[in-house]
């Protein structure tokens, strides 16, 4: 899969933020949204850029630490669950 991500980047509370566009390829439908972000971060570090900071911990939808706001919705498209950004992309995380 190839994806275009628009990610809100903001250094800290004293700086202005902006939406940054990233194109990533070689994304497997078995990856979770968080694993896709890992791939992006590895690329950014290799290019000498700062990786995207995001909260996550258990990565199985239980702890509630992950807090990404995806396509206008907290945690992504499914309501009432923290699980959808931990599950495989092929399960419709982005739909």
């Amino acid at each position: 899969m190839k994806l275009t991500l628009k990610v809100w980047r903001q250094k800290n509370t004293q700086s202005y933020g902006r939406l940054e566009t990233y194109k990533i390829s070689n994304i497997s439908p078995d990856m979770s949204f968080l694993e896709m972000m890992d791939v992006l971060n590895e690329e950014l570090i290799r290019k000498g850029e700062e990786p995207v900071a995001f909260d996550h911990d258990c990565r199985e939808g239980v702890c509630g630490m992950c807090s990404m706001y995806i396509n206008g919705r907290a945690h992504g498209p499914k309501s009432g669950t923290t699980n959808c950004i931990c599950e495989a992309l092929k399960m419709g995380t982005l739909s």
Partner: protein
């Protein structure tokens, strides 16, 4: 150094009550003069912090997550053991004690394990009083189910989310104390060192993960409840943030590390799907109450499981272990799954999986009843794999799950540094070489609610603890060391990412120090880890600065500690020339391929003492004395 476990005298069933009476007390008015630091807010940390504050001590509690309720105890699924004998099926405190000693393959301390079994019954009462919604039977009594290594049903549960419910109970108790001002809570804060003054633990150094500020905190005693170190394998069922840093820094300050090579590989996890994988998800052991494990009888049979007739399936656990069947302990179940896959009978695309089949249970109980018991686990499986386990068997494979090793502690849970305690998975104490299912929650809560509140008072009442402020030179020195290390990590600016190196470490540990170990492999692994450590310190690239949120820096600091721990695990595994529980040395096995212990030479706790950077650690042995349980070849046949 002479290790003194401080095991009380007397018969096994009287030790704890007598000991509690003999412990010195701190009078209520004096308790508020003592400050106690608790690092970690999972079941052990939250229960300890809440209880110590309730007693009147001034408590500071720390966690790296945004809230104490995120701690990884929350992900525990199947349940918590207690010797209540509600089903009247023959359970007792003694039987829980016996099962735990045997399950741990006779490498745990009798006195600690008996105490654990004794207080297990109090834990259930405590949690029910807090409102934890344990599953109940139709008549209203608390329900029990079975877990591995036991022939009675003694596991209390809340569907497949028992850890979450227990943690919410402990978190509520903690929150109440935070609200009352008795606990000061520091979230998004990581402990980076302990501070010793005149040989006593007098505080910690922390980093505020949002602002990067390095801070000093003084106290009269410190409790580490920081969990296990399964993430040394990179892939594990642990949360991504789980790490060894707090206990490893304590180790480098003088706390001995017990049985580092004793790690638990859990038999039923969702198999790895590719190189991108960042963590592994557990499918609770409770599923083995109704799920049947099998592989095709013929090598390379890649028909769909529904198309393989009964006669061509090998329910190998039921075949090899008729009396325990699918509920053999975890180490045994994992090893057999590996044997099946090594013999070419594994299933799925990678061949590294076995089936866990609910077909029979669904026919017997109906889909609705199965859903009631395991619904959330089935949903989780479907979300991750895209397959429906009501229609087709789950595919599962072993994964790193828990570490029995940890900081060496005496009967009072104190490490070899006065005033420094280790609770829950962070200590080595109760599970020997293999932990039984549903015993981690029990131990975490036993340590926090029922052990440390008694034992810490004895230390505070009997020690000379002069006033120490955070401007003491020991704090200044510890803070400078922490800062130097952070600057070093940021200054390397090499070519490798932290994640890449962590993956490599994980692969070395899994290949050579995982389910099967050999002297040759371990020796090779040691060299590989040393080289990788060299690579890390010369060629890692940690971007960003130390003055704000920097997750790569956090990860780098934790990985640096995992690299050192990994080498010690390999050394420990190499030194233990026997197989026991989860430690399986291929050179030492019975004719039936079971773990072959050597009680004459290895019936001890290996406690390692740090000697300085790149120096070999020194081994101390605590002999294990069995006065109640007879050592036998563990059999589940």
């Amino acid at each position: 150094m002479k290790l003194d476990a401080k095991i009380p005298s007397g018969s096994i069933s009287e030790k704890w009550s007598k000991h509690k009476f003999n412990l010195k007390l701190v009078n209520p008015a004096n308790k508020r003069k003592f400050e106690i630091i608790v690092v970690g807010s999972g079941l052990a940390g939250a229960s300890a912090a809440a209880t110590l504050a309730e007693l009147g001590y001034k408590v500071k509690c720390f966690c790296f997550q945004d809230s104490p309720r995120r701690a990884h105890s929350i992900a525990a699924q199947g349940g918590i053991n207690a010797a209540k004998n509600y089903p009247n099926d023959g359970d007792s405190v003694y039987r829980l004690f016996y099962d735990t000693i045997k399950g741990g393959d006779y490498r745990a301390r009798e006195a600690n394990v008996h105490r654990l079994a004794e207080v297990s019954v109090n834990i259930i009462d405590q949690c029910v009083a807090q409102g934890v919604p344990f599953a109940r039977e139709y008549g209203g009594h608390l329900d029990n189910r079975s877990f591995g290594g036991a022939q009675v049903s003694r596991t209390f549960y809340s569907r497949g989310m028992t850890g979450q419910q227990l943690l919410l109970g402990a978190y509520s108790a903690l929150s109440r104390q935070i609200g009352l001002g008795n606990v000061q809570m520091f979230s998004r804060t990581e402990m980076l060192d302990v501070v010793l003054v005149e040989g006593q633990t007098r505080g910690i150094i922390t980093r505020n993960l949002v602002t990067g500020a390095i801070e000093r905190h003084a106290a009269h005693a410190v409790c580490l409840a920081t969990g296990g170190y399964g993430n040394v394998f990179y892939l594990s069922t642990n949360a991504r943030g789980s790490n060894v840093t707090a206990t490893w820094r304590a180790h480098k300050k003088g706390a001995l590390f017990g049985n580092p090579c004793f790690t638990q590989i859990h038999p039923t996890c969702i198999p790895v799907s590719g190189d991108h994988q960042s963590k592994l998800t557990l499918m609770s052991e409770s599923l083995r109450n109704d799920g049947r494990v099998w592989v095709p009888k013929t090598k390379g049979d890649n028909r769909r499981p529904e198309d393989i007739p009964e006669a061509e399936r090998d329910y190998y656990l039921e075949r090899i272990y008729p009396s325990f069947g699918n509920l053999v302990p975890r180490d045994v179940a994992s090893r057999k799954a590996k044997e099946m896959c090594d013999a070419g009978r594994g299933v799925g695309a990678s061949g590294l999986a076995v089936f866990l089949d609910f077909g029979e249970a669904i026919n017997r109980l109906g889909e609705k009843a199965v859903k009631q018991k395991y619904g959330n686990l089935f949903d989780m499986y479907q979300q991750i794999t895209g397959e429906n386990p009501y229609k087709t068997p789950m595919r599962i494979y072993p994964a790193v799950h828990y570490t029995m090793g940890g900081l060496w502690v005496d009967y009072n849970l104190m490490t070899t540094i006065p005033g420094l305690y280790a609770l829950g998975e962070a200590n080595f104490s109760d599970h020997g070489a293999n932990r039984l299912g549903a015993s981690a929650l029990m131990q975490g809560l036993a340590d926090g609610y029922f052990v440390i509140p008694y034992t810490i008072g004895d230390y505070l009442a009997s020690s000379n603890l002069p006033i120490v402020k955070t401007d003491h030179p020991a704090f200044v020195e510890a803070e400078n060391q922490v800062k130097d290390r952070i600057h070093k990590l940021l200054s390397i600016k090499g070519k490798l990412t932290v994640n890449e190196i962590h993956r490599q470490l994980g692969k070395i540990m899994w290949d050579y120090c995982g389910m099967a170990r050999s002297a040759e492999g371990l020796t090779h692994a040691r060299k590989l880890i040393q080289d990788l450590k060299q690579d890390f310190w010369t060629n890692v690239n940690v971007p960003g600065s130390d003055a704000d949120l920097n997750q790569a820096l956090e990860h780098a600091g934790r990985l640096a500690d995992f690299l050192e721990l990994g080498e010690l695990m390999v050394v420990d595994a190499l030194e233990r020339n026997e197989s026991c529980g989860g430690h399986f040395r291929t050179e030492y096995q019975t004719p039936e391929n079971e773990a072959l212990r050597d009680d004459d030479n290895y019936c001890y706790v290996a406690a390692w003492e740090y000697q300085g950077d790149n120096q070999p650690e020194v081994l101390h042995k605590e002999a294990l004395v069995f006065e109640n349980v007879k050592l036998t070849q563990r059999s589940y046949k």
